[in-house]
Amino acid sequence: MSAVLAIIRRDLLLAMRRKSEVLTALFFFIIVASLFPLGIGPESALLRTIAPGVIWVSALLATMLGLARLFAPDHADGTLEQMVLSPTPLGLLVTGKIAAHWITTGLPLVLLAPVLGIQFDLDVGALGVLVVALLLGTPLLSLIGAIGAALTLGVRGGGVLVSLLVLPLYVPALIFGAGAVESHISGLGAGGHLSLLAALLALAVFFAPWATTAALRISLE
């Protein structure tokens, strides 16, 4: 267990030393989500309708930006080999790395989303649902993304390939995440969508580290 905490601590320390990489994804999220209200104009009814979808799509794309960095630096400098050879099971270390990825890219998105939601004239209740949906959804994005990052490790042009692999897998998260806010706005209640999102997260927490580990072992041979 201490090894897992050590790897989270190490990745957060590395992220602190290279702030620009984390900030790039964050600014990308802010800018993409802000361009829509500017382009569409001040029609609050229309903005409210598109808000959940736009914010979720921006979150997907911002998460994608950081995926290439998840394993590639460790692969290049041999750290990944040492992780495979560590007495701690690789699956646990991979879970630690995914957790660190979520803390540096997912969590800031969750915290920023309500501020961006104001631009779309969302009320307090809808903002709350948006935050809860993102809180359940962004770890899911990191977990699924890790599988894609591991599969494309060491592949030339892996950055493009990882988007082609991972974005289709993000569709359920997008549908239920954006759907939660939409159904709250239309008065149907967000419970159903959020439960499904939580179920997907539970499934991914169980399977994604295992699949990522298998993919990493293949790319290291």
């Binding site: 201490s2 090894a3 495979v84 050879l85 560590s86 007495p87």
Partner: protein, 201 residues
């Protein structure tokens, strides 16, 4: 005791070696020699369980390493070509974090003493990317002094080291062997260490 029987390694279409047998007992070390591209690193990676052999089997204390898995990994330390050293972290952070990844907490004073022993006094808090190639190697090799492992598998450990560091590393390996440890290493230099066997690829 590490034994391997009938090892063969295939890279692409080429067979690098076949029918390779080796045995290293306590206090012994194996010097793997061969031309560039002869398969020295491939052999070490097979022995370290990083890649499976095309044929043959590696055994540790009589048990296949694939069965032992974590027990073997705990008893073995592999240092490869790549640094496994993070450029953005300081030598001290690199050493303590790699010890924690191995599942052992490392006291800061011990870590500082070890780094000083490896000639990195005064550079403990400098990001590794500001260090020279030889100093980066020293940060990596400092792990040998803090990680308890019966078997050392070292790929070109003397690369980029100056005369003093080569002497110190030889001394470290000698001490490890005297304490009943085992070592397998590749190097283009000849080394005056006792109980050595040579494996020519």
């Amino acid at each position: 005791m590490l034994t391997a029987t009938g090892l063969s390694c295939v890279r692409g279409e080429r067979r690098l070696f076949a029918g390779l047998d080796l045995a290293v007992g306590p206090g012994e070390w194996l010097h793997v020699q061969g031309e560039n591209g002869a398969g020295k690193t491939s052999l070490l990676r097979i022995l370290a369980t990083l890649s499976p052999p095309a044929e043959g089997e590696v055994r540790w204390q009589g048990e296949p390493v694939t069965v032992l898995a974590e027990d073997y990994r705990r008893a073995m330390l592999f240092l490869g070509h790549h640094g496994a050293v993070k450029e953005d972290l300081t030598p001290l952070e690199n050493l303590t974090l790699s010890a924690q990844l191995d599942g052992a907490a490392l006291d800061e004073t011990v870590a500082l003493q070890t780094l000083a022993r490896f000639g990195l006094r005064g550079r403990e808090d400098l990001a590794v990317r500001f260090l020279s190639a030889g100093q980066k190697r020293r940060v990596l090799l400092a792990r040998l002094a803090v990680r308890k492992a019966a078997l050392w598998i070292l790929d070109e450990p003397f690369t980029a080291l100056d005369v003093k560091a080569v002497d110190m590393l030889s001394g470290l390996i000698e001490g490890h062997l005297a304490a009943g440890g085992m070592a397998i290493l590749t190097s283009h230099q000849s080394m005056p260490l006792p109980n050595g066997k040579v494996l020519q690829l």
